[in-house]
Subunit: 218 residues, 2 copies
DNA sequence: GTTCAATATTGAACGTGTTCAAATCTCAGG
DNA sequence: CCTGAGATTTGAACACGTTCAATATTGAAC
């Protein structure tokens, strides 16, 4: 336990305020004060306001991985495994609807260090894709299709997050239902990716996404 | 021609500056000055900085519609028609890569009047979906699937825009190629939407997107 | 020309994200 | 204990998005 736990205090304070007031209505000054530190100190640890949300998202990744892996132990059905990964993600975000939009603010900033799509955050994307790929490591999914399927599922998770921040239903039940249906549509189609006709598309998709720095170079 | 054309002057000045400097690096003060008006005046016409990009996007919609319809005259092939709609969109955006991220900044703000997903901008979304649906009004596409297919294609356009702002290739050639491939994959699959099994999914998708205010209520 | 309601313009001011030089703290080494 | 390098904290200041009360303009009606 480090003597000075400032970074964690700031993040905790931020999350509490974000949950209560939302991203935009929470000021960095409030966060610093609530954390018992200065405004400059908050910026020392988090370069931008959005970085707070991103840091939280990163912290959650470990929980997501653990939760998903626990669920993977219970079933070999690809649909159920993928759905479990989606639901764990949603469970983790349950209290966070008011401020997860903050994560989306930087989507269109190719060079920003706090964009999910930035080069800096390649490891984060890699992990997000990897945990979904693990769901597909079962007999029902062709080996050759797993990488591309994981990528598609990752994009779908992003779409789900976008939908989630707009969802006004109790317990985000609409998001859950939609995710369930989307997964139910997509997962059985994975076999199509193994077809020879899809081969060229798959290679091109991967290379293009890598070039746009969305995917790690392979 | 109105005596005072301030709104248009501000928008023109903004676009010129955005193209040169990008969205974030262009200040409202610069825009107002360049338009020969005051900062407050700029805000009189555009409630937020992002509203400038949105207004431009709206203006482009008419051009998009015209361009797409012209292309639709030349072919009855659904793939070609849909692809044409996508390419017209990209042509219109060609000079705008540096600032189209500004349009994405508000994606995660459900209540913001300048979000593409906001209730205020339902007509805009409706038009975007409608022009794509027009592409599908040909014999090769089942009538029952056209609405849902148009919706999916609209989501794909959004994904394309997201990819576009990250694309570093000359003339956004990568975006073009990816769009071509994606359309080539999706359009032939439209027949699947007519299957009885897809019926329930389609109804549920529509109702959910409507409830999240992403789709117009029907 | 005058009047008046509606519209448009203005610029000072505010709030907030962010910056940064100065000061302080920490800890390992002597 | 002292020293010094590196890390951390600080708060004043800056820039910019945004606001808003006061003022000016416009155009229709008389």
């Amino acid at each position: 336990m480090p003597r000075r736990d400032t970074k964690q205090k700031i993040l905790s304070a931020a999350l509490k305020l974000f949950r209560k007031q939302g991203f935009d209505r929470t000021t960095m000054r409030q966060i610093a004060k609530s954390a018992g530190t200065s405004l400059g100190s908050a910026y020392y640890y988090f370069p931008r306001k959005e970085a707070l949300v991103l840091a939280y998202f990163e912290d959650q990744m470990a929980l997501h991985e653990a939760g998903a892996r626990a669920a993977y132990q219970t079933t070999q059905d690809p649909y159920e495994r993928v759905l479990a990964a989606f639901m764990v993600r949603l469970d983790l975000m349950a209290q966070d609807q008011k401020f997860f939009g903050g994560l989306l603010r930087t989507l269109g900033e190719p060079d920003s260090s706090v964009s999910v799509f930035s080069e800096e955050n390649t490891p984060l994307r890699r992990r997000g894709i990897a945990i979904l790929r693990e769901a597909l490591e079962v007999p029902g999914v062709p080996e050759a299709a797993r990488d591309d399927a994981a990528l598609m599922l990752w994009a779908l998770v992003l779409g789900m997050v976008l939908y989630f921040v707009h969802d006004t239903s109790e317990g985000a039940e609409r998001t859950r239902a939609l995710a369930g249906r989307a997964v139910g549509l997509l997962v059985p189609s994975l076999a199509l990716l193994e077809l020879p006709q899809a081969q060229m598309l798959r290679c091109e998709l991967r290379s293009m996404l890598a070039d746009a720095k969305i995917l790690p170079d392979t």
